[in-house]
């Protein structure tokens, strides 16, 4: 019995597409290796640059908002609050900044290999996680400075991290598929992220906001993930059930961006 491969104009089913992504997973490592090597070639500090930026931001937030403006917290100290918030936020913002280029950077490979193109934004997101691993590890140290030594919530940490991971991949996938059409997004993303950080409880707690603004914050999936992350690490005491609205939005967005990318899979090559 001979097995055949068929190439035709029919749309690939989602099952076949997923199967093909899993078949081509061996390519993820060399693509990431290549991207990282290209990114840091001929630099003296190399990967340190990715760590420097978030740590500088955290230090500045602690100095200005923690000591000078004295933002009131319900619970815990300000350093661990900013550190946990910024660790998540940095992943989101890095994924958003870098995914726009994910397909364009690899256009030669796209023209040569018949692999599902969603691999490239996935690789970008994994690269961002790998670059932020130090920041995340530092964020975990807040466990030792907490007032309550109740570590039972830690069992939720893997769930939250996996959720964060999947959502960041979805974010990257969506942005890369959109940027292909019009490169405007490459310029727009920094502005959007700059605005969005003010509507996310990264360096201030939601408790100091007026009520009408709180409603909007609950719609923000970034906020949900950050608050959940803080809760599992014991930085905040409780999580408002309203944050689950954000999680549902994140879930819908994840499904949507996968479908969105899949629909454009075949025509991406025409826009490169």
């Amino acid at each position: 019995m001979i097995s055949y491969r068929i190439i035709n104009s029919n749309k690939e089913t989602f099952r076949d597409y997923l199967k093909r992504i899993i078949q081509n997973r061996v390519l993820i490592y060399p693509i990431i290796l290549k991207d990282t090597k290209l990114k840091y070639h001929q630099t003296f500090l190399g990967g340190l640059w990715t760590i420097l930026y978030p740590f500088l931001s955290v230090v500045l937030y602690v100095i200005f908002f923690g000591y000078i403006f004295k933002i009131p917290l319900e619970h815990g100290n300000y350093l661990s609050f900013v550190l946990t918030g910024y660790a998540c936020w940095n992943i989101f913002s890095n994924v958003s900044f870098q995914s726009g280029n994910a397909l364009i950077q690899n256009q030669e490979l796209i023209r040569k290999l018949s692999i599902p193109k969603i691999i490239f934004p996935i690789c970008k997101s994994i690269t961002v996680w790998y670059e932020n691993i130090v920041l995340l590890l530092v964020a975990f140290t807040v466990l030792f400075f907490n007032e309550n030594k109740d570590y039972s919530r830690l069992i939720w940490l893997p769930v939250v991290l996996i959720g964060l991971f999947v959502f960041s991949i979805a974010l990257g996938t969506f942005i890369s598929a959109l940027t292909i059409y019009k490169k405007d997004l490459n310029h727009g993303i920094p502005i959007i992220m700059q605005a969005l950080i003010w509507f996310t409880p990264v360096f201030y707690p939601i408790s100091i906001l007026p009520d009408f603004l709180k409603k909007f914050i609950f719609l923000n999936p970034f906020a949900s993930f950050i608050e959940l992350f803080r809760w599992t690490l014991g930085v905040s005491d409780k999580v408002s059930p309203h944050y689950f609205i954000g999680l549902i939005i994140a879930f819908i967005f994840t499904i949507f961006s996968f479908i969105f990318f899949k629909k454009r899979e075949d025509i991406i090559i025409d826009y490169l």
Binding site: I2, R5, I6, K34, K112
Partner: protein
């Protein structure tokens, strides 16, 4: 178990249609008028069908924009066809290109590691293979330098070394021969007998008809996205060259000069005279100079020849004339040669009035030469019979 009777690749009615994108004004119009306002677009490929069996080497020829590369990309799965389907037995397909496979900013070693994984050679290249590539590419200590400091020859050698490991089920080569220098070409041709010999099917695109004749057994001739001819390599070759000649000799009536006939394809032995002839119809008396050129398939002109040595000019009277040019025997080496004549105005040497292609001649070896060793590589275009003299001066 792979079956050798079943076709390895079966391509049926492949078409690729590209629609032309509407610009802003037109798409606005289509919204306002509530009609689908579309442009027709064009077919890059139309109804391509062929079957290849295990062991087949297919060469694809055709002018620029004939759809050769598009066809390769469809077979490799990079782009989808608009209609039709391809059935393949092989699991893996690889496109071989001479350019753009290396990353300029990475070192040679990193390039070997990454590129071999990306083009699907192995999951992880081991030290023996790395050493082999290093030796094959003759890079020596430069292997740890970024590729951008390499000479283009070094880059090609590295590329070639990486390709020695390639073992896909279907290998697609996109105009690889055109880029490399002579040694790169020779290495690549050698790989056909060596490391590529186990690959079930190779499909190659080339401008150079000669490469296809040498390396392939089947040939597909594409023209404007349509299949003109498919079959055994020697048949297509004839068809291709004739069509090229016809196209060129169509532009004829100019300044009262009309070419009626010329010979097209001849096969001569080394010891035979080669004769080119054509017939001219002159409608008004014409004073012009004629230059004869001979090219070989590699491109450059081998020599030119003037009508007369003293004054390169001929007074054509009104009427029909036959022109014959003969090349004496034992001048050309084995191979294929193309001849052309140029008619020029004697007052202005640069102004070419008319160019005629006189067709091609294939020189083959004489019967006695066939088994001789020195006849195997017709490296040089000329092998003239010279006057030799051997005398014994002192005998013991």
């Amino acid at each position: 178990m792979p079956d050798s009777k079943e076709p390895y690749i079966e391509c049926s009615n492949i078409s690729k249609h590209y629609s032309i994108q509407l610009n802003l004004k037109e798409s606005f119009k289509s919204i306002i008028s509530n009609k689908r306002y579309t442009k027709e677009g064009y077919y890059a490929l139309k109804d391509i069908s062929f079957k290849l069996h295990r062991g087949d080497r297919l060469g694809i020829i055709g002018a620029n924009g004939a759809g050769k590369s598009t066809l390769l990309k469809i077979i490799s799965g990079v782009i989808k066809p608009s209609s039709g389907s391809i059935r393949l037995q092989g699991e893996s397909t690889a496109i071989l290109e001479a350019q753009n496979i290396l990353y300029e900013d990475l070192s040679g070693r990193d390039n070997i590691k990454i590129v071999t994984q990306l083009i699907g050679i192995s999951n992880k290249i081991n030290d023996d293979e790395l050493n082999f590539i290093q030796e094959f590419s003759e890079l020596g200590p430069y292997i740890d330098q970024p590729i951008k400091y390499y000479s283009s020859g070094m880059k090609l050698r590295l590329t070639m070394a990486i390709y020695q490991f390639i073992q896909p089920d279907i290998l697609l080569m996109d105009e690889v021969m055109a880029v490399g220098d002579v040694s790169f070409r020779n290495k690549l041709i050698a790989s056909f007998n060596d490391s590529f010999s186990k690959i079930p099917v190779i499909i190659m695109v080339s401008h150079e008809v000669n490469d296809i004749v040498n390396l392939c057994n089947k040939c597909l001739y594409l023209k404007d996205g349509e299949m003109v001819f498919l079959g055994d390599v020697s048949d297509v070759y004839k068809k291709y060259s004739i069509e090229h000649l016809e196209k060129k000799s169509k532009q004829s009536i100019k300044n009262g000069l009309k070419i009626i006939s010329h010979n097209q394809h001849q096969i001569k032995k080394h010891s035979e005279k080669i004769l080119f002839s054509f017939t001219l119809e002159i409608s008004e008396p014409l004073n012009c100079s004629i230059v004869f050129y001979l090219n070989d398939t590699r491109g450059p002109v081998l020599f030119d020849s003037l009508l007369f040595r003293e004054k390169n000019e001929y007074q054509f009277a009104q009427g029909v004339h036959e022109v014959q040019i003969s090349i004496h025997s034992y001048l050309l080496n084995k191979g294929t040669y193309f001849a052309k004549c140029i008619f020029a105005n004697p007052q202005d040497d640069n102004h070419i009035e008319q160019e005629i292609n006189l067709g091609e001649v294939k020189v083959i070896s004489d019967d006695w030469e066939k088994d001789e060793k020195w006849n195997i590589h017709p490296k040089y275009p000329l092998r003239p019979q010279l006057e030799w003299k051997i005398e014994s001066i002192k005998q013991q």
